[in-house]
Symmetry: C2
Subunit: 241 residues, 2 copies
């Protein structure tokens, strides 16, 4: 229990310190403040700080030189601000970009799970799933088309009263099933197959498809989603090591 | 110096242990072998093993419970085998997929650096760069089109004797400038603008463009590349947390 707290404190300090290094514009070779300065700046204990620094050393973000302190390591040069590996909802992602999209709920309803969805969610084939089809628009222009599936068994029996046009993440959180991580693939595709009217989505060129299986903190698969991004409007960043 | 060795040993053990957990098919909640068993299995020292385990705890891959050992944590559920975040050459990537591609060198030559290339490589605009245009084919089918730029100043004066149709990574390694990491973006695009004959590339649909700036271990930007992947043949995986 105490140990669990230490680890999450160290992980939080590591993230804060990484963001601070970026915000300050520190470059590879620049010296970090002393442990005393860092504990004061972030209001943390020295053991938790040391765990965080050790973790950053392991990840190659900083380097320690005995007797002369710690330095920003070359690998910080490839850190990007919001990598494709950061888990966030579509609403969060668009909000960060300064967008307040409208959501058009195209369809919501119960279907037998398609084989790929069943496999991703660990369900028996044809198990009932709830299927959501949405379009997100900014100033009338369609930006994203999404297909989301969740196991029907996760929903309380009165699920039809939910507002399915709202944030699915928030809804799952309310059910105690907040997704916090995912396994995903990205590919380039043409327009999705659907009966729905997607307006000009895809007219601007190819789409970037992110196919994602979302898990709770306990490792339970709760959402399978296919998100088609208007290609000329989206790119995602990442570091490779 | 000694400390540097410890850290790289810990990082190597962490990677081995992660691969081993995957290869064994261990699932979240499964118990890890004891420290004694792990030091024996991987032939490593206990302090290095402990650093590695601590780093994995920080990254949420394993969890420790005082008095009862270490367990695979739920976040292992989202680990993927070769994530988009793994740095590797095109040749390595295709080789892993069992492909032995032919390389067709379309063009090689000195050009003034385009603004985006100059910015990525930290060069003054119009600085001379070496530009390589290549097509990779498998059984006659074009799979990838790539544009690669490197600062001319990095090359020895006799550079025209290089075999530019070979691996650029190997060539850079020979110059003591091996790229080991990168910052990249991925997007969906149509066919690239080029005078060259790309055959059927792009005929199968949209392309997945990875635009990448590659750095040496010392953090020096040495290659800027744009790689267009035949979209229907490629997808990349990653974990989000």
């Amino acid at each position: 229990m105490g140990q669990g707290r230490d680890i999450s404190a160290a992980a939080r300090i590591r993230d804060q310190l990484r963001d601070w290094i970026r915000a300050e514009g520190l470059r590879p070779g620049d010296r970090l403040p002393t442990e005393a300065e860092l504990t004061a700046r972030f209001g943390v204990s020295r053991p938790a700080l040391r765990e965080a620094l050790k973790g950053m050393e392991l990840d190659g973000m900083i380097a320690a030189q005995r007797g002369s302190g710690r330095y920003v390591a070359p690998a910080m040069a490839v850190q990007v601000e919001r990598p494709i590996t950061a888990f966030e909802s579509v609403t969060e992602m668009l909000g960060r970009a300064g967008h307040r999209p409208q959501t058009r709920l195209l369809q919501a309803g119960r279907v037998p799970s398609p084989p790929d969805v069943a496999a991703a969610l660990g369900l028996a084939e044809d198990s009932p799933v709830w299927r959501l089809e949405k379009l997100r628009l900014i100033e009338g222009q369609p930006l994203l088309y999404s297909l989301e599936y969740l196991p029907l068994a996760l929903l309380p029996p009165d699920h039809p009263v939910f507002d399915w046009s709202g944030s699915l993440m928030a809804l799952m959180q309310g059910l105690g099933l907040a997704p916090v991580m995912s396994r995903a693939t990205v590919s380039a595709v043409g327009p999705p197959e659907t009966q729905a009217d997607l307006g000009s989505l895809g007219a601007g060129g190819p789409l970037l498809l992110v196919a994602e299986t979302c898990f709770t903190a306990a490792g339970q698969a709760v959402i399978r989603s296919l998100i088609y991004h208007a290609g000329h409007q989206f790119s995602f960043s990442f570091a490779r090591k």
